[in-house]
Symmetry: C2
Subunit: 152 residues, 2 copies
C-alpha cells in the first residue's frame, strides 16, 4: 500500500489502531452488561478506592460534572452497596467516598475485564505481537494525564 509522506502514513496507521478499538467495543459493552453496570458507573468506580477516599468536590472535578450530579452518582453507588460516604476527619463539611468491600471487588473485576485485550489482538502469533509491542513502546506514557477519562 502506498503511504508516501509522514501525514498519510500516520493517518493510515491511526486508522488501523482506531478500527481495532471500535471493532472491540462490543467486547467492553458485554463486560458492563454482564456486571449490570453502565459506562458511567464504570467511570465512577474507576476513580474510587477502599483506602483514603475522595471528596465530592474531587470527584465532580474528575468526572467533569456538576457537584449535584456527583451527589446523584454517589447516591446510586451507595444504593448498590458499592461505595459509602464517611465524614472527612479534618473538615466536617466534607465527605470521603470510599469503596465498600463489594465495590472494591467489582472495581477489580471491571478493570481486569475492561482492559482485557480484544480477540483480534490475541489471534496474533508471538512474533507479530512482539513486533507490535516494540513499535508501540515509543508511545508509552507513564503519568496519568487525565485520570478521569477512562473511556475512549
Amino acid at each position: 500500500m502506498p503511504a508516501d509522506d509522514h501525514a498519510t502514513l500516520a493517518a493510515d496507521t491511526w486508522r488501523l489502531m482506531f478500527d481495532l478499538l471500535v471493532r472491540s467495543r462490543p467486547e467492553r459493552d458485554a463486560v458492563l452488561a454482564r456486571l449490570g453496570l453502565t459506562a458511567n458507573e464504570y467511570k465512577a468506580l474507576h476513580s474510587l478506592d477502599d483506602q483514603d477516599g475522595r471528596t465530592m468536590k474531587e470527584l465532580a472535578a474528575e468526572w467533569q460534572c456538576d457537584a449535584s450530579t456527583a451527589t446523584w452518582t454517589v447516591d446510586r453507588l451507595q444504593r448498590l452497596d458499592l461505595a459509602e460516604r464517611r465524614v472527612h476527619p479534618a473538615d466536617r463539611r466534607a465527605r470521603l467516598v470510599v469503596l465498600t468491600p463489594r465495590g472494591a471487588a467489582m472495581r477489580a473485576e471491571l478493570v481486569r475485564a475492561m482492559y482485557a485485550p480484544p480477540a483480534d489482538l490475541l489471534r496474533l502469533d508471538e512474533a507479530q505481537l512482539r513486533a507490535l509491542h516494540e513499535a508501540l513502546t515509543p508511545l508509552r506514557h507513564d503519568r496519568r494525564v487525565d485520570s478521569g477519562t477512562v473511556t475512549a
Copy 2:
C-alpha cells in the same frame, strides 16, 4: 520490561494502544465542540449519506435504539438542516432519510477530523511510524463489522 508469555505480552500491548486512545479522546471531544455537535449527532450523521438514504427502521437498528428515539434524533438533524425525510418510492409507509448539502459537508468534515491521528502519534519519526504501521497490518479488517459503532 518482562513480558514472558503470550497473554502478558498481549495485555501490555493492548494497554499501550488503549491508553493512546483514551489520552487522545480530548482531541475528538474538541472536534465535536468546535462543530457544535454531540457524540450522538456524530454517530447519526456517520450512518447517513446524500444518495440513497436509509429508512427509519434501518437507522434504529444501526443506532441500536428504539424507533421512537430514531424519530427524535432525525427530527433534530432535520431542525439543524443536516438531514431530511423523503417518502420511500416503493413503500409509502416508509421514509428515506438523506443528508442535506449542509449535512453532507458536515459529515465529511466530521469524519475527516474525528479520524485524524492524535498528536502523540504524529510526534513519531518516519522509521517509528513505518514500524508501527507494518506491525499493525495483520490487524487490518476490510469489511465493516458493525457499521453502527463509530466510537471506541
